[in-house]
């Protein structure tokens, strides 16, 4: 198995190649929002590092969101077309799940039970989820199991629900990760009880294709694959105009064109 995984939902793009033994080779951009220009170069670098050609790839995986709409589209389109042209299946990986996976080891070593990836969606909004660090059935390794729905939360709402969840285990701590820390760190400090939370260090705070690749490898082994038409973005939000159309608040000028 040779899986290509790409991550374009955050500020910095990255590409990784993972094989069945779990060896990972990666390339990451140091330029912000350079996904469209830089993605093919990153893929090519990751493949070179891995010492394989694109024709040896068996799967292509994308971090499908939530995150930057534009970033999501670049990643998903790239993977869909690679899948179609190389005739290999796709794998969809939740961006929040991949962020939890990335933070898991550090969360456990810091003594936290929960991992909370938070993506800044502006104006107090976030895309977030809550994961619990648990041992897999065979006890061989720990994994992050979702315990609260991945969705759009107001930051305050997320923290209140999280506190309720944490009340189930006295003394449990939450390990926050993602650019939500940069945007809402002060709010988190205000709302969360002292010593009930830890912030991820910047070196693993942001999305990276490595954790996308690790999840993709497990999904591939489990046969959890998709055709390119089935690989869809997870925006977690309708387009604004569509929200207004559904709510019946689209501008009258558009709905009743005859009036001036």
């Amino acid at each position: 198995m040779k899986i290509l995984a790409i991550e374009t939902t955050g500020k910095y793009g990255s590409a990784s190649v993972i094989d069945e033994t779990g060896r990972i080779f990666s390339a990451a951009s140091s330029e912000e929002m350079n996904h469209l220009r830089g993605m093919i170069t990153l893929i090519d670098e990751a493949l070179r590092e891995a010492g394989i050609t694109k024709d040896e790839l068996t799967h292509a995986a994308a971090s499908v969101g939530p995150g930057s709409f534009t970033g999501i589209r670049i990643g998903v389109t790239t993977v869909r077309i690679m899948s179609q042209m190389l005739d290999i299946p796709c794998i969809a990986v939740s961006t929040l799940g991949a962020m939890a996976e990335r933070a898991l080891g550090r969360a456990i070593s810091s003594g936290a039970l929960y991992v909370v990836p938070v993506i800044n969606a502006r104006r107090h909004q976030t895309y977030a989820g809550v994961y619990e660090a648990v041992f897999t059935a065979d006890g061989s390794r720990q994994s992050a199991i979702p315990v609260m729905e991945e969705k759009q939360y107001m930051i305050e709402e997320l923290l209140e629900e999280l506190k309720q969840k944490m009340a189930e285990h006295s003394g449990a701590a939450a390990f926050f990760t993602g650019d939500g820390i940069d945007a809402y760190g002060d709010i988190i400090k205000d709302i969360m009880p002292e010593e009930s939370y830890v912030f991820a260090e910047e070196d693993l705070r942001y999305q990276h294709a490595e954790s996308v690749a690790r999840i993709a490898l497990r999904k591939a082994a489990a046969g959890n694959i998709l055709t390119y038409s089935e690989l869809m973005p997870e925006y977690m939000r309708l387009a604004e105009a569509e929200q207004r159309l559904r709510a019946g608040t689209l501008s009258d000028r558009i709905r009743k064109p005859v009036q001036i």
């Binding site: 694109k54 993977v79 869909r80 077309i81 042209m85 387009a239 159309l245 064109p257």
Partner: protein
């Protein structure tokens, strides 16, 4: 290559059409797949960029797949990929560019970026097999009203353009106000056929003596004021007459300036391009005015006037032949100039 013919795949996603086409030797469209989103955007009274971007993503694979199937070729037989990288809606453009790059990389095919406007001109190479530069080009579309001198393949000199609204934009706005809705161009064209084009005296805006530029915002305001005034006076508005008179004021100026530029540069042919180039009155007036000066008018068929992948493939073919360097770091440039 197939049967000794050089095959170019053209991909276009700059606005609300997801399109791809396989073109042989830059001239023969072997397939031309256009998936329009017009039905979706009509509910919003115009193109919604975020929705357009989402739809492009959902459709791009099948549009490319069908373009290959219809042409009876495999991806491995494609010699060159051309993709629109601007001007256009950034979110829409980047779907085409990302798709083109992924395909170019996966299949080891050179990729060149194409200026959408050059594509509109190249639509004429598909329609008129004998056409070669030099010639004058008139591009009229939702976002553009431009007169362009084309001295050689892949070389375009813009001589004049709009200083405010594009012709198509003015059509859209007036169509909305008289209740015809979106898209304005074809609807005004249709309504105008039932109306009297001399019934309302809308002004012709020629700007300074000899200028090849356009301005339609004053005309648009005049039309809105006229409608307001008539409604306030309680007079019933004849939509067909407004459409016909307004359209005449727009296309007469366009035709006059296009012919003037062609004469000034000593060209013998003028080619029309862009969505509004399929406007029937503009076509008729161009024939009439150019004919009097012994200038030939070439027009692509309506399917090649709308945004399509074939014109992008043709423009890519000539760009590549003229030495354009393949580029896997291609970026989308929404405000790309001529």
């Amino acid at each position: 290559m197939k049967d000794g013919r050089f095959l170019t795949l053209g991909i276009e996603t700059s606005c609300d059409e997801t399109a791809a086409s396989v073109v042989a030797d830059g001239r023969f469209a072997m397939s031309n797949v256009i998936s329009s989103q017009i039905d979706i955007h009509t509910a919003y009274g115009g193109v919604v960029p975020e929705i357009a971007s989402r739809k492009h993503l959902e459709r791009i694979n099948d549009v490319i797949g069908k373009a290959l199937d219809d042409a009876g070729v495999s991806a491995g037989e494609i010699d060159l990929i051309g993709v629109t990288y601007g001007p256009g809606l950034v979110g829409a453009l980047l779907i085409g560019v990302a798709a083109a790059k992924a395909m170019a990389y996966a299949c080891d095919i050179p990729l060149v970026g194409v200026n959408h406007m050059h594509g509109h001109i190249a639509a004429n190479y598909l329609e008129h097999q004998e056409l070669e530069p030099p010639f004058m080009a008139l591009i009229v579309s939702g976002g553009h009203t431009e007169i362009v001198n084309v001295p050689e393949y892949n070389k375009c000199e813009k001589l004049g353009g709009t200083r405010d609204d594009a012709a198509g934009e003015a059509f859209d706005k007036v169509a909305r106000v008289i209740g015809l809705g979106y898209p304005g161009g074809p609807k005004i064209d249709r309504a105008a056929k039932e109306g009297d084009r001399e019934s309302i005296a809308f002004k012709r805006v020629y700007l300074e003596q000899g200028s090849l530029d356009f301005s339609f915002s004053g005309l648009k305001t005049q039309a809105l004021n006229y409608l307001n005034q008539e409604r306030q006076a309680g007079r019933e508005i004849n939509v067909n007459n407004v459409a016909a008179s307004f359209q005449e004021a727009v296309v007469e100026v366009i035709a006059d300036k296009a012919v003037m530029a062609t004469e000034k540069y000593g060209q013998k042919r003028i080619v029309m391009a862009g969505g509004v180039a399929s406007n029937s009155r503009l076509r008729a007036l161009m024939e009439e005015k150019a004919g009097r000066k012994g200038i030939d008018v070439l027009k692509p068929s309506p399917v090649l006037c709308t945004d399509n992948g074939a014109m992008i493939a043709s423009a890519a073919y000539y760009a590549y032949r003229s030495g354009a360097k393949p580029d896997l770091e291609l970026d989308a440039v929404p405000g790309l100039e001529f």
